[in-house]
């Protein structure tokens, strides 16, 4: 069921992948992309360029129309329905539309990701509090998700994505509704995961997230990869300065 076609340090491998939504929306065209374990990769590109579609292909929310997608040793196109959970457990995704359960509490929404892998209750509660603290949301612990502001919802969805310490984190526009200060907290969280060896893909429009880093930035344009900003494949970039502390550049 799992085909180890790529070298062991490659965790995401896309070979000539295309995705056409019916009837003829070419969201992704002929993309090849290799991501190594522990890397941070930024996806940018205009609205509608295909960033979300790419992330959805990786988490098997869509099947590729053409090409091969290999994630953590699973060939997406051949993964049988009953084994999808094995792939999904290695991936934590913060969706662009959050996908929170509106009438459940914040804690429940985060816990759900840990419950499905049978974590003990005490662990779940500890981890939830820890994440909420890190994202400045502890006072919303027992609030229902529909009563949160959009920015708060976004943070809950990020917390859920990373709760289970997955091998791969896919973050789709994780700071679109966040102010600079809160963005900083999120960046720190990703940074911390990066130090633990998590592979992180971030689709974003926020230049301040990647402008002062030397992580790989991939720009999509009409479903194709455009001249990549940096092709640095080195894996030990934890030592280097990564995210900018605050996006408020002194230009006013």
């Amino acid at each position: 069921m799992s085909q180890e076609t790529a070298p062991p340090d490659v965790i995401i491998d896309l070979i000539k992948v295309s995705k056409v939504y019916p009837p003829d929306v070419h969201a992704i065209s002929d993309i090849s992309l290799t991501v190594n374990r522990g890397e941070i990769v930024f996806l940018t590109g205009m609205s509608g360029a295909g960033k979300t579609t790419l992330l959805r292909l990786i988490s098997r929310m869509e099947k590729p129309t053409k090409g091969m997608v290999d994630v953590a040793g699973f060939d997406i196109a051949k993964l049988p329905q009953r084994n999808i959970h094995l792939l999904r457990r290695k991936i934590g995704m913060a969706y662009q539309d959050f996908k929170l359960l509106p009438n459940r509490t914040v804690a429940d929404n985060i816990a759900i990701a840990m419950e499905v892998v049978y974590r003990p209750k005490s662990f779940i509660e500890k981890r939830t509090r820890e994440l909420l603290d890190q994202l400045d949301l502890v006072r919303k612990y027992a609030t229902r998700a529909e009563e949160l502001s959009r920015g708060e919802q976004q943070r809950v969805s990020i917390a859920r994505a990373v709760a289970n310490s997955p091998e791969i984190v896919l973050a789709d526009e994780p700071t679109g509704n966040l102010d600079a200060e809160t963005t900083d907290r999120v960046v720190n969280l990703f940074h911390q995961l990066h130090r633990q060896g998590t592979t992180i893909l971030i689709a974003t429009h926020d230049k301040s997230l990647y402008q002062q880093t030397n992580h790989r930035v991939i720009e999509l344009r009409f479903g194709r990869i455009r001249a990549p900003h940096a092709e640095s494949f080195e894996q030990n970039d934890e030592e280097k300065p990564t995210f900018p502390a605050l996006a408020s550049a002194p230009e006013a």
Partner: protein, 295 residues
């Protein structure tokens, strides 16, 4: 072990969390079971009722003379070979006369000058107590009149035909009401499941996305369905029992009660109804998750 604990916890939480739509479902199931078993009860009692009514439905075969023993046996053989015949009874002239005297009651002295054998002897044929046999009574009576020595076959023709039509109509009413109700019920249960699923779809999709196994998603639905099915069926049967007793009270008059021996289901039937409802609900809940598992 842990799986079971988690699934049980989930089931309980779901039940608590969505108690509004659960009660809706419970009500639907109860109503459906009530409706179904109500018609089943009427059906299973329908034959008994007609049993008691067709006591009057005997055919009287008038003979031209008192039959001898051999002839009696001959008649017995020829008539009893029909399935629809329950029993036959020979009435001699004397017996007929005595009955007539009794019928006249206080006026019996009017018969004082009449010879005791002025009424012909006869055979009374009691058909089997079933609705079907009624429909064939006419042909049967025609057959009987072809037997040797038979003067005339008499039966409450009009009355039987009326009764037959009435029973037939009653039967059509029950069948049609039953069909309508069962259609409605099916429709309603499907509707309720659709509604419930709509409310939960988001949750199921999310569970799928965060890596829940198929069983993790389905088991709570299975348990929930079984629970609701069991509870709903029990409530339905209980409601029917109440109704049944209410009807009995309505017929509490001294004679009518005994005339219509209306009985409730036996335990095995009750248990099978509850069992089937439980199974159906569990299966229904279980299978509705199929589409979502494809995600």
């Amino acid at each position: 072990m842990r799986f079971l604990a988690v699934v049980l916890r989930h089931t309980c939480r779901n039940l608590l969390f969505t108690w509004k739509s659960q009660i809706m479902t419970l009500f639907t199931v109860s109503l459906s079971v009530l409706i179904f078993s109500f018609f089943y009860l009427i059906y299973s009692n329908a034959l008994h009722i007609s049993d008691d009514l067709d006591d009057d439905l005997r055919l009287i075969v008038y003979l031209d003379e008192e039959p001898g023993l051999a002839l009696k046996e001959e008649y017995q053989r020829k008539i009893l070979k029909f399935d629809q015949v329950d029993r036959i009874e020979f009435i001699s002239s004397q017996q007929a006369f005595k009955r007539f005297e009794q019928q006249l009651g206080d006026n019996r002295d009017v018969l004082s000058g009449v010879p005791a054998d002025f009424l012909p002897s006869s055979i009374e044929v009691y058909p089997v107590r079933s609705l079907d046999s009624l429909s064939r009574i006419k042909r049967f009576s025609d057959y009987l009149s072809t037997l040797p020595g038979v003067l005339k076959v008499q039966y409450g023709k009009e009355w039987i035909e009326r009764f037959y039509a009435f029973v037939q109509l009653m039967r059509v009413v029950v069948i049609l009401s039953g069909t309508l109700l069962i259609m409605t019920t099916t429709f309603m249960v499907a509707h309720t499941i659709r509604l419930t699923l709509l409310a939960r779809q988001q949750e199921l999709e999310l569970l799928r996305l965060v890596g829940a196994t198929n069983n993790y998603i389905r088991m709570p639905f299975l348990l929930e369905g079984a629970f609701l099915g069991f509870l709903g069926a029990s409530c339905g049967i209980a409601a029917l029992l109440l109704l049944f007793n209410w009807i009995k009270l309505q017929f509490a008059g001294p004679t009518t009660l005994t005339l219509l021996p209306f009985t409730f289901f036996s335990w095995p039937i009750i248990l099978s109804i509850i069992g089937i409802a439980t199974l159906l609900c569990a299966a229904g809940s279980f299978s509705t998750t199929r589409r979502i598992l494809q995600l």
